[in-house]
Symmetry: C2
Subunit: 213 residues, 2 copies
C-alpha cells in the first residue's frame, strides 16, 4: 500500500484563480515558541488550492459544505491522462479513454490530469471539462470528478459543467496535484474542512495505490 499526496502546498505566493491578488492566502505567524508555542493565522478563500466545491457553490438550494456526504469523498478512482489536450475535454475525448483498464464505471471517481509538472502559475487558457464531457460523466453515474486545474470549467455561460454535475449529486474536487501520478486505478480519499454553510473548502487529498495490499 503506497500513499500519494495529491494536494497543492498552501502558501501566500501560491497560484490562485485568474491570478487575482485578492485571492492569495494571508498566512502569518502569531506566536513563537518563545511565547509558548509556534502558532499562526490562516486566511484564505474557500476555493484555495486543492479544494472541494459544495453544491451550494453554484446552486442556492444545493447542499452546503457541512452537508456534503463523506461517501462522495472517497472511493475507487481512475486517473485519466489528458496532458495531450489543450482546451475543452468533451464527451468524445472521455469516451475514447473509457476502455479497458480506464473504463469509466458507475460510482467511480474520475480524476483528470492536465499538467506534467506542478502548477507554478495560473493558466488563463486552461484545459477544462466541457459541458458534453460533464453530461457524459453524469450519464455514467460517477461519484465525483477531480481536476488538477483551479477550476473544472472555463468561460461557459451559466457554469454548465458545474450545474450538470451538481444536479446529479456528483462532487467536484479542483486544484489537485497530479503531475507525478500515472494514468490508472487508485483509491481516492479527499477530506475537506467541515465549514458550516460553506460553499467550498480546502481539502487534503491522497491516492492510495494497492489499497488493502
Amino acid at each position: 500500500m503506497k500513499l500519494h499526496d495529491i494536494s497543492m502546498m498552501i502558501h501566500n505566493g501560491m497560484p490562485v484563480y485568474k491570478d487575482k491578488p485578492e485571492k492569495k492566502p494571508h498566512i502569518r505567524r502569531t506566536r513563537t515558541l518563545g511565547d509558548g508555542a509556534n502558532e499562526s493565522y490562516l486566511g484564505m478563500e474557500s476555493h484555495t488550492g486543492t479544494h472541494m466545491d459544495a453544491f451550494y457553490h453554484m446552486l442556492n438550494a444545493g447542499k452546503k459544505m457541512h452537508e456534503m456526504p463523506l461517501e462522495k469523498c472517497m472511493g475507487e478512482a481512475i486517473v485519466l491522462d489528458f496532458t495531450h489536450v489543450r482546451g475543452p475535454i468533451t464527451e468524445k475525448e472521455l469516451s475514447k479513454k473509457s476502455i479497458g483498464k480506464t473504463a469509466i464505471a458507475r460510482n467511480s471517481i474520475i480524476l483528470i490530469k492536465t499538467w506534467t509538472k506542478p502548477m507554478k502559475k495560473f493558466d488563463f487558457g486552461f484545459t477544462f471539462l466541457e459541458k458534453t464531457g460533464a453530461a457524459y460523466l453524469a450519464k455514467k453515474g460517477v461519484r465525483a470528478v477531480g481536476i488538477d486545474q483551479l477550476g473544472i470549467e472555463r468561460g461557459q455561460p451559466g457554469h454548465e459543467t458545474h450545474g450538470i454535475l451538481f444536479r446529479k449529486g456528483i462532487a467536484v474536487f479542483e486544484g489537485l496535484e497530479l503531475s507525478s501520478i500515472r494514468q490508472g486505478s487508485y483509491f481516492f480519499i479527499g477530506l475537506p474542512l467541515k465549514i458550516k454553510d460553506g460553499d467550498g473548502a480546502p481539502a487534503r487529498c491522497v491516492l492510495v495505490e494497492g489499497f488493502g495490499k
Copy 2:
C-alpha cells in the same frame, strides 16, 4: 463499511481554546450566486477545532505541517472511553484500559474520548493526557494520539506531553468530536491542510467501522 465524521463544525461562534475572542474564526461570504457563484473567505487560527499539530508547534527543529508524513494520519485506531475521568489521564488510567480488545498496540492510533455530548464551550478544567500517560504511549510506540479536547495537555510546565510525544515522532490530533463514538476498534483517517511551514492545520477526520468489509 460505515463512516463516522469525527470533526467539529467550523463556524464563527465555535468553541476555541480558553474562549479567547481573538481565536474565533472569521468566515464571511464574499460573493453570491447573483455575482456568479457563492464564495467566502475563511479566517482561522492554525489550531482551530479539529486539527493536527506539526512537531514544529512545540519544537523549533521539528517537522512543519507540509513535512508531516501522511502515514501518521491514518491507521488502525482504538477509541478509549475516559468520560468517567476528571483531570489528568495518567499511565495508571491508560494501563487499566490496555487489556483485551482495547490493548494498546505498537503503531496504533489512540483516541481519547472525554465528552459524552458535542463540546458547546471551552472547559477550563478539561481532561488531558498527563506526562506519565504520554510517556506510557511513547513507550508503547503508538503512531498518533487524538483527543476530543482543544488541547492534549493543560497547565504542565514546558508542555511536557507534547514534547514527549513529538520527540518520539508521535502525531497529535486535537479537537476531535467523539461524543457519539463507542469505545472500540476503527480505522482512522485524519487529513490536515498542507500548510507550507505550518505549525498546525485544521483537519477533517473520520473513523471507518468494519474497514474493508
